[in-house]
């Protein structure tokens, strides 16, 4: 059978001429993994090397220092790293916001999942800021009604996670409900609140739907990671502790 097929093909081929239109007859596809067995092309390596050295030097630049590990898992409803992140973003963002709007930010809220890596005790390097915040998210200030603040609080309680909250919030889950103070004052139904968060969360990330359709929104065009780097550069040593800003009644 095979022989017959081959001979038919052979005869057809012998009859064919050179400048006939081309027809697709066969397609082959495969995956080629790039492994260490493949030698690097020197010209390319040489091109990359100076950039690599600069990036590595920059990433290894010591910005600050911490005496203890900064992690997101050392508390129940708060964490050292979460408190630090929310507080530092507030500190870096509020002057920007105030200069643009004359208002002050009331508090900051980010998400637990957005803390992408802890920081080991010792020197804090630029690399740590990139690992903590690899994304290009911007800081935004969202103006919320007191109703939306209640939704926000209910979200935090239902979620039961150590989402980063700034120190301006004092929230205790009680057996009957909760006690909330913002900047030492109870929630004021006739006031709107300026909440600092990221554009990612404002757009519905982590189902923080209370950030949608706010009274107003101000994008600070200031990346979360840059706020972190700027803050670290400014501080010789990072001191952060758990202070019970969000807790459950014992």
């Amino acid at each position: 059978m095979k022989k017959i097929i081959i001979s038919i093909f052979t005869i057809l081929l012998l009859l064919s001429c050179k400048n006939e239109p081309q027809v697709l007859v066969k397609v082959e596809g495969k995956l080629l993994p790039i492994t260490e067995e493949i030698q690097s092309k020197k010209e390319i390596e040489d091109f990359i090397q100076p950039y690599r050295e600069k990036v590595e030097a920059e990433m290894n630049t010591v910005l600050s220092y911490t005496e203890k590990d900064l992690v997101r898992t050392d508390g129940e409803l708060e964490s050292s790293l979460g408190n630090l992140m929310a507080d530092l973003c507030f500190d870096m963002a509020n002057p920007v916001f105030k200069s643009r709007t004359t208002n002050n930010i009331d508090f900051a809220l980010f998400n637990y999942g957005g803390i992408r890596a802890g920081i080991t005790k010792g020197d804090i390097k630029t690399e740590n800021a990139f690992q903590l915040m690899p994304f290009e998210n911007n800081l935004v200030v969202v103006e919320l009604t007191s109703e939306k603040i209640k939704e926000l609080v209910n979200y935090l309680i239902a979620n039961n996670r150590a989402h980063p909250l700034s120190k301006h919030i004092n929230l205790e889950i009680t057996k009957k409900g909760y006690n909330l103070k913002i900047n030492n004052l109870p929630l004021n139904d006739s006031k709107t609140y300026f909440v600092l968060t990221s554009d990612y969360l404002q757009n519905g990330g982590d189902k923080m739907d209370f950030f949608k359709n706010p009274v107003s929104i101000q994008n600070l065009n200031y990346k979360v990671r840059n706020a972190i780097i700027d803050y670290f550069k400014d501080k010789d040593t990072i001191n952060v502790k758990l202070d019970g800003r969000f807790r459950a009644e014992k």
Binding site: I8, V25, K41
Partner: protein, 304 residues
């Protein structure tokens, strides 16, 4: 399941035709032509190989190694095109520090022939992408992003036609819907057009007007969305269009161990491929052509 059945059937058929294919090559070298397509997607600024202690992909990838592989294949077959399906930017500090300059310069050194635009390529805004274009010695193709009211107007072509060994290869680009995925301030007045309608137009133009022998779609639509099966993706695009031979995909970081063979709107085979992300793999598709009279039966064999 249906698709798997089909693939099995088609490879059984392929085995039969391969026999003929081999004889074609051995007896008719003068009339047969061979085009190699190499492709990457979602490299995301991964210039260096992964570290040796990486938990998932230790010591894999790396542009300098990719360069060697591409060079060797080009030596073997000069009629090779190297293509990228977008998301060149974002993922390592190289991008944060240099804004895509190194990525484009390296791709130029590797002699990429064309690329399409992924959503992350807008991460420094449309102006950031525009600013890096002089570093790219290859063309960007995108047919369903209307850039008329942006700085990219006239810089991005809907398609490009390459001629290799007298074989005409048309390559057009498709991008994913940006609203909800990218901050509007980043893509500005980029207008997203329906990928299916545009692909139908493109394949007609390339096949009928440009008389291409091969039509390739560089897509950043994503391979398939399990939770949204009707969302436009490469598999749906393949089934709703015709005259496309190969869809090279991206966005979903899908590692296909081999290209998927599926059917287009008129029941012909289409190849859909995607090779994961971060430059860990290169996809290779070889197209073999022969002159008309050498073909006993219509249709091509696909060996994947």
């Amino acid at each position: 399941m249906k698709r798997r059945n089909f693939i099995q059937k088609s490879s059984a058929g392929a085995a039969f035709l391969t026999l003929g294919g081999l004889s074609l090559e051995s007896f008719a070298k003068k009339t047969s032509k061979h085009i190699t397509i190499l492709h990457t997607n979602d490299v995301h600024s991964h210039i260096d190989p992964f570290p040796e202690d990486h938990y998932k992909t230790p010591n894999q990838g790396g542009v300098a190694r990719r360069a060697t592989l591409v060079e060797n294949i080009r030596k073997e077959n000069p009629n090779t095109l190297l293509l990228d399906a977008g998301d060149i930017f974002q993922g390592t500090p190289y991008f944060n520090f240099y804004g895509g300059e190194i990525e484009f310069k390296l791709m130029s050194m590797l002699k990429y022939d064309a690329a399409t635009i992924g959503n992350h390529d807008f991460d420094n805004g449309i102006d950031g992408l525009f600013a890096q274009l002089p570093n790219a010695k290859f063309d960007f193709v995108s047919a369903n992003y209307d850039f008329k009211n942006t700085v990219l107007d006239t810089n991005i072509k809907p398609y490009k036609v390459f001629v290799k060994d007298e074989i005409k290869i048309g390559v057009f680009g498709l991008g994913i819907e940006l609203a909800g995925l990218v901050d509007p301030r980043m893509y500005k007045e980029t207008n997203y057009l329906d990928p299916v309608e545009i692909a139908q137009d493109m394949s007609r133009i390339l096949k009928e007007e440009e008389q291409c022998d091969l039509v390739i779609c560089l897509s950043h639509l994503g391979y398939y969305y399990k939770s949204a099966p009707s969302k436009i993706c490469d598999l749906n695009l393949a089934s709703k269009t015709k005259d496309i031979d190969l869809i090279i995909g991206g966005h979903t970081h899908t590692f296909l161990p081999k290209p998927t063979v599926t059917k287009n709107s008129v029941g012909e085979n289409v190849l859909v491929n995607q090779v994961g992300c971060y430059g860990i793999n290169i996809g290779r598709i070889d197209f073999y052509f022969d002159s008309d009279k050498n073909i006993t039966s219509k249709g091509k064999s696909i060996i994947v």
